[in-house]
Point group: C2
Chain length 201, copies 2
DNA sequence: GTCTATACTCTGATAGAC
DNA sequence: GTCTATCAGAGTATAGAC
């Protein structure tokens, strides 16, 4: 993969990655083909492989980029802030990701669902470390009596599950709700109520 | 696919379906190969195709079987029961599915994640109808003041998301918790608390 | 009913002209 | 840098012996 130096290289790399995100997130790694990605990108298949050495490399580039986006909302939770507000803001940020980056959410879900074959290290390392850190903060908040006592890790899991559900299971959510709904807008109110009640001792 | 008449046909069909569930749930439809399924089943590849006409047919057989298993816990929610107990029992049944049938959960997740290409009709039909029916029951419970007012469909989504997360994202959950945990046992307590607080007005 | 051998298609990747 | 042509391997499915 040539380091993107010229403007055209920069642009093509981005075009490829965007097309790859579209296809990988919809079909998984194995289900996606270079032909599809090339078609979406508007480039020839050999041209893809001029910018990236292999299909695997394209996928890896996406995952690496993804991890930061994915962890940012939790990183931004301020240990010195007001506990309830911090947690609700975290929920809102995660929900924003489901709204604005549903393809990234599905890429991530595909990867975990299949046993995280290409992300195991990041999950056991970076992700776990961040959760440990923030779980400690939440535990302190609970000991100070500022929010209700709960298992902080399962609390975090619940936020992941409830927010990502609206991106990952979008088809099902829309099918069940029928026409004329904005699932994520509705979810925002629902989750606000849920966490307000849950965190009140 | 020969209707399983003899005992050996019955047995082989089941062996194949079990092997297929193992492989499809771990790798998705495209990611799974007949070679893998044959290997797990301990049969030859052509022998698989003696029992089922195609890879697609094996997958379809699994999905059809799956839907009933999947909807049963919600079907069993009794409109005449005690509201809080009925909903908590539903949560527990769904969590039992995540514990006892994680492969089925991942098969379902893979299918929805990729836009439900082979299940759309069932989701828009059977699934939606059941949710509509039970949402009406919940709405009545709310109007009678027996549980807190909430959007009943998002309440159901929350139960799906929170329980299936422990099967679908098992790798991540275990990586974050580290050794010496029983994720689903812990989740049971957490979710009991969550829904007790949520349903209390 | 089950196997070996094989046909045929798809797909990731490369060669080489321009 | 981009394209056409093509290779090699994998994968679904079938033919036909036993």
């Amino acid at each position: 993969m040539p380091r993107p130096r010229t403007r055209i290289q920069q642009k093509n790399s981005e075009t490829i990655l965007d097309a790859a995100l579209e296809v990988f997130s919809a079909h998984g790694f194995r289900g996606a083909t270079l032909d599809q990605i090339a078609e979406v990108a508007g480039l020839s298949k050999p041209n893809l492989l001029y910018y990236f050495p292999s299909k695997e490399a394209i996928h890896q580039a996406l995952l690496t980029e993804l991890l930061d986006t994915w962890l940012d909302p939790l990183r931004a939770m301020d240990p010195e802030g007001e506990p309830r507000a911090e947690i609700l803001a975290y929920v809102r940020r995660k929900l924003d990701l489901s709204r604005d980056y549903p393809r990234e959410s599905r890429l991530f879900a595909n990867e975990i669902l299949q046993g995280a074959p290409r992300m195991r290290a990041a999950i056991e390392g970076e992700l776990k470390a961040l959760v440990d850190e923030k779980a400690a903060v939440m535990t302190r908040w609970m000991e100070e009596g500022r929010i209700a006592r709960l298992d902080p890790r399962h609390l975090i899991f619940s936020i992941w599950a409830l927010t990502q559900h609206y991106a990952d299971f979008d088809v099902q959510v829309r099918a069940v709700l029928g026409e004329g709904h904005d699932p994520i807008a509705e979810a925002e109110g629902f989750l606000e109520t849920l966490y307000a009640r849950l965190l009140t001792a």
